[in-house]
């Protein structure tokens, strides 16, 4: 049962199971007090320079855009990042706050490659380690389970494995080759949800992406929510709770928090905004101008909403499909 192959990629965050346990034991407060706060307070308190940060779900879909913009406004530096992403990762990279990336996919789907990612990585500014999408998510799952690694049959035989930090062993039960993925414990995670109570009990509509796993794999968790609802309402349907309050450190009320991305059953993606950013992102100066206007140029998410315009947001609401 020897290790047959070891990926040569750097392990940007070590799978420290005991360290994680000790941390949550010491820091996770189970008190039923309100964690409602502004995005400024949440980010100032719970995001630190050098943190390993994760965002859920995916740039244009239920993404914590308002919190991401606040992280940039506060200039949190030397971040290590896990993406999976589009717009949110692009912004963090463009603001030059990122040292390294565990990457599975950063691009604009049918619209193609991310120019910002290209500049960041091709220049040698940002280090990368590559994984499959399943692998990254299973790394969260391992952390959420509290175990140091998890097996998969993905990545075998490929450079994706070679440039990751996965290992290949022989299964002691079947003799087959198996990839072992190191658990990925995040320092801080940002998750945007449909509704939460003030304590942090959260519900998500539609696909859950990797919210379940990431919420359980992080030391610090900032929730932004379209709606803050009564705790009694959440507790009426405990089977719909995706994230219980004792995992959560901050709850930020952020209507349209996923803009310019979509929020299912709430509002459609702002295609015009996204396409215009995509075009601007090809040019360094225009990218800066975008950041100046939409991130640095507003004090907070309220101002961002005003800048985008409530009429436009109402129109996006009218465009989203029902059930």
């Amino acid at each position: 049962m020897a290790v047959i192959e070891s990926g040569i990629g750097e392990l940007f965050q070590k799978p420290d199971v005991w360290g994680f346990r000790e941390w949550v034991h010491k820091h996770k407060d189970k008190t039923l007090t309100s964690k409602l706060m502004s995005e400024q307070e949440a980010v100032a308190k719970f995001v630190a320079d050098g943190d390993y940060l994760g965002t859920e779900l995916y740039g244009t879909v239920r993404a914590p855009m308002s919190i991401t913009r606040e992280v940039i406004r506060q200039g949190k530096k030397h971040l290590r990042l896990v993406g999976q992403g589009i717009h949110e990762i692009d912004l963090l990279l463009a603001a030059d706050l990122v040292d390294s990336l565990d990457i599975t996919y950063i691009a604009w789907e049918v619209y193609g490659i991310s120019s910002i990612l290209r500049r960041a990585v091709e220049s040698g500014r940002v280090k990368t380690a590559d994984w499959s999408n399943g692998a990254i998510t299973w790394r969260f799952k391992a952390a959420a389970m509290g175990i140091p690694f998890i097996p998969t049959l993905s990545m075998l035989g490929t450079d994706t494995l070679k440039y990751s930090s996965a290992k290949v062993i022989e299964c002691p039960f079947t003799g087959q080759k198996v990839t072992l993925l190191p658990a990925l414990f995040l320092d801080v995670a940002l998750i945007h949800v449909h509704r939460a109570d003030k304590f942090g009990n959260c519900q998500i509509d539609g696909i859950s992406g990797f919210a379940f796993e990431m919420a359980r794999a992080c030391k610090k968790l900032i929730i932004s929510a379209e709606e803050i609802v009564d705790s009694e309402e959440i507790r009426k349907y405990p089977e719909h709770t995706m994230i219980p309050y004792f995992l959560v450190d901050a709850v930020v009320h952020a209507p349209y928090g996923s803009h310019p991305g979509e929020m299912c059953y709430k509002y459609w993606r702002d295609e015009e905004h996204l396409l215009s950013f995509l075009e601007e992102s090809k040019d360094v100066e225009k990218t800066k101008a975008y950041l100046d206007k939409y991130v640095y140029g507003v004090k907070n998410h309220d101002e961002y909403i005003k800048l985008v315009g409530i009429d436009r947001l109402k129109k996006l609401e009218s465009m989203i499909g029902g059930r």
Binding site: I113, V121, E122, I207
Partner: protein, 254 residues
């Protein structure tokens, strides 16, 4: 005969490969359009799976991304990435649709970098779900919009997603599931399959007006050619009508 563009043709060819009553794992773009067309034509019970958790959506409206709300509208389940990927890993997904910047004769794909790994000459998106699909789906179909020697190459700069790796038996030797692997390649020039014995890519059908010779010349590696190369039927009037009126009425892609 109705006029059609190259994208429309690719979509129709890919669509015809979709088998009714199977699960097909697709991404945005051509595979999604092809799936949507297939569901409205011959494969009404096709289950379309998206990696972020939408499985079995109606696809009434065309999604813009693999996670948007249209990927789980009236779906049989809206779960998450783990469930979707694990459904593939334990053998429930027949077809996986892939794309890439480079493909080699064993159907291996590169979507990671051009040049050396780091820092690369060109940083591409990365594997995303492609490596998982290429590992676990029973059959994968690669869509290559542009068939030329820079894309159909001797040696990939980076092997992101496994095809037949280095030839017969090498998938199994690497630990990948038996009896899985590349099935078809759909390009703007034609449709390729794989020689059963050598696992090497083989031209099966060309598109109208394209010769086998052209395909061979636009491929850097030695492309095998089936004895009797067929011709892909052009899109039918019905295919085009449904594609244009029902699948993509807003002309998002075509």
């Amino acid at each position: 005969m109705t006029e059609y563009n190259e994208t429309e043709f690719l979509i129709c060819v890919a669509s015809r490969l979709m088998e009714n009553r199977t699960v097909a794992f697709v991404g945005t773009g051509i595979p999604m359009l092809a799936a949507s067309l297939a569901k409205k034509m011959h494969a009404t019970e096709l289950i379309v799976a998206f990696e972020f958790g939408g499985i079995g959506a109606s696809l009434d409206k065309l999604p813009l991304g693999v996670g948007d709300s249209r990927t789980f509208h009236k779906a049989v389940i809206a779960s998450g990435i783990c469930d979707a990927m694990e459904t593939a890993q334990r053998g429930f997904i027949e077809y996986g649709f892939l794309g890439g910047a480079q493909i080699d004769m064993y159907g291996n794909l590169n979507t990671t970098v051009i040049g050396k790994y780091w820092p690369p000459k060109v940083r591409l998106p990365g594997s995303g779900g492609a490596n998982d699909l290429g590992s676990h789906c029973w059959k994968t179909i690669a869509i290559m919009r542009q068939h030329d020697v820079k894309r159909f190459v001797n040696k990939l700069d980076f092997l992101t997603t496994p095809g037949y790796l280095t030839g017969p038996g090498s998938r199994e030797a690497a630990g990948l599931p038996p009896n899985t692997g590349p099935f078809r390649v759909v390009s703007n020039l034609g449709v390729m399959g794989y020689d059963e014995k050598s696992k090497r890519m083989m031209l099966l059908k060309t598109n109208p007006g394209v010769t086998a010779e052209q395909v061979v010349q636009n491929t850097e590696f030695e492309m095998l050619v089936e004895e009797k190369v067929g011709t892909n039927d052009p899109p039918t009037a019905e295919e085009l009508k449904i594609l244009r009126n029902d699948v993509d009425p807003d002309k998002l892609y075509i």
